[in-house]
């Protein structure tokens, strides 16, 4: 759209982030001078090996684990698949039941559905109107056949932070393993696997200014788990495949940066996010904020704009150079809108009209101003087109 302001305002950091220059700088030598295979015996490969082991220590330190409990893999989806399939298969003599929530990422939900087709049974816990899982529901769902509880640390769409420590305690009280998908939480929620009683935790580098294709699964020492990828003896025989050395090095540096000052970082991002939310609520009637008012990721804002559909909001924002996301089905080609928005009780038409804005380190107050200028006009245009809009919800046009 040449006639419109082409400035790119990126507010989709829950989808992915840019890479920080420090991260790129840390990775660079591992593409060229330190290209050796960490498994090779000659001294030349030692640099690669050391790069991987430094990253392992960095990741372990960020979540309160021991380096030997960090297992690198290709990203969050692999980590989730590994945790759930690996624990289910390794413990099937003890039981065949998994407890999870209705608002997990598809990497968890589709994995659980696959296990159901293999004869396992899965309980999908409901959430409240803010997207929180009740630890009492977890306790009630656990049976003597349950081997795993998997509840995400923070939701990717609405940003709701779960009572992870309480859920971990409930799982352990019943001798059940606890996995949490912390892909969205790391860098925003302080994670301590000991205090939170976490046995398995999924991580993904590109959500906190690290590289794509690099992730990790924390596996508590002594946890019974099968491997997902079979082959060579990498990752102490747990995950075959030559290590993505530059990716792992960048992942380690990125998590170190992301967890250095979580509180200070959150304060800064939340101030911008709160101004954005206030401004949108003040200028656009019939708008609902989805997610928890307090227990939410500092960078996440999720709205439902009544009478309009999410994909059309996104495309008009895109025409103004704003990158955002929606839970509307029309953006994904399916007929059901976001399972998360339906699970918190939104009617279909409001679930179709959702918009997710997730801020990040490069956003400025100017970006917030720009979105506050553009968004009311975009919603106003679409409401003018919509047959559902009552006259009181029309936004006066400014010429």
């Amino acid at each position: 759209m040449n006639d419109l302001d082409p400035r790119p305002v990126y507010m989709d950091h829950a989808a992915t982030t840019f890479m920080k220059p420090e991260v790129i700088a840390a990775m660079a030598p591992y593409f060229s001078e330190h290209f050796g295979n960490p498994s090779s015996l000659y001294r030349f490969a030692a640099e690669s090996r050391q790069g991987v082991e430094t990253a392992r220590r960095q990741v372990a330190a960020a979540i309160g684990a021991n380096p030997g409990e960090i297992n690198f893999c290709a990203g969050g989806s692999e980590a989730d698949n590994w945790a759930i399939k690996g624990v289910a298969l390794a413990n099937r003599e003890r039981g065949n039941h998994i407890v999870t929530s209705a608002i997990e990422h598809h990497a968890v939900l589709h994995t659980c559905e696959w296990l159901e087709r293999q004869g396992f049974s899965v309980t999908y816990l409901p959430v409240d109107e803010f997207g929180r899982v009740d630890p009492a529901d977890v306790e009630e769902a656990i049976t003597d056949r349950t081997t795993l509880v998997s509840v995400m640390a923070a939701n990717n769409e609405i940003g709701t932070i779960q009572p992870v420590a309480e859920i971990g305690r409930v799982a352990h009280d019943h001798g059940v393993l606890f996995h949490t998908d912390a892909v969205q939480a790391v860098g925003a929620v302080p994670i301590d696997v000991e205090r939170m009683e976490i046995d398995l935790l999924s991580l993904s580098g590109h959500k906190f200014y690290g590289p794509k294709g690099a992730g990790a699964l924390y596996i508590r020492e002594g946890t019974r788990i099968e491997s997902l990828i079979h082959g060579g003896g990498q990752e102490r025989g747990r995950r075959a495949g030559t290590e993505n050395v530059p990716g792992i090095v960048g992942f380690g540096r990125a998590i170190e940066l992301a967890t250095a000052d979580i509180e200070g970082h959150n304060r800064c991002i939340a101030a911008m996010r709160d101004r954005l939310v206030r401004g949108i609520l003040a200028s656009i009637p019939d708008t609902r904020v989805n997610g928890h008012p307090k227990e939410r990721l500092a960078n996440n804002a999720n709205f439902s704009f009544r009478y309009v559909e999410g994909e059309s909001i996104l495309l008009l924002l895109d025409a103004h150079g704003i990158c955002a996301s929606t839970g509307s089905a029309c953006s994904s080609g399916s007929s059901e809108p976001s399972h998360v928005l339906l699970a918190i009780g939104l009617p279909h038409e409001e679930a179709h009209g959702s918009l997710r804005l997730t801020l990040g380190d490069a956003n400025t107050e100017d970006d917030v101003d720009y979105v506050l200028e553009v968004l009311p006009e975009v919603i106003g245009r679409l409401r003018k087109i919509s047959p559902l809009t009552p006259s009181c919800a029309r936004i006066p046009e400014v010429d």
Binding site: E309, S312, L315, L316, A319, C330, P337, I385, S386, P387
Partner: protein, 146 residues
């Protein structure tokens, strides 16, 4: 994902809004599936002299209904009835596979408006033949037909 024509039609829809004195109004879709289209017709001597639309839906739904109102203006009612979803798709320079149902909805909204006009005049509504996109085999675009 979308052609330039779809984006242009979506960002600059021409015939938006309600016709207060419409001779026929057709509405299709539901909030549940995320698309509602309403088409208003003004008819003089069996000819569509004005057509407007209101749509709740994605960019493809808005572009399809906008294009349909553009295409049926100045057509006779039977010519407008014969507007196919493929005509709408062609005029938009193509639609992604998952969005073809939007063009079917636009055609259905036109037909619903024509039949509303006919019913108001005490005429028998016209029968829709088998869907040209699936020949009645089920293309997933007609939830009302199962």
């Amino acid at each position: 994902m979308y052609t330039e024509k779809v984006i242009t039609e979506f960002t600059n829809p021409q015939y938006v809004g309600e016709l207060a004195d419409a001779d026929g109004v057709g509405e299709v879709g539901s909030p549940t599936c995320g698309d509602i289209m309403r088409i208003y017709l003004k008819v003089e001597e069996d000819r569509i002299v004005d057509a407007r639309f209101q749509t709740f839906g994605c960019a493809a739904a808005i572009a399809s209904s906008s294009m349909a109102t553009r295409m049926i203006r100045d057509l006779s009612l039977s010519e407008a009835w014969d507007l196919s979803n493929a005509d709408v798709v062609d005029a938009l320079g193509g639609l992604p596979a998952g969005k073809v149902h939007c063009s079917v909805l636009a055609r259905d909204a036109v037909r619903a408006a024509i039949n509303d006009y006919r019913t108001r005049r005490g005429l028998e509504p016209w029968e829709a033949g088998p869907c040209e996109c699936c020949g009645g085999a089920g293309c997933g675009s007609h939830p009302e037909n199962g």
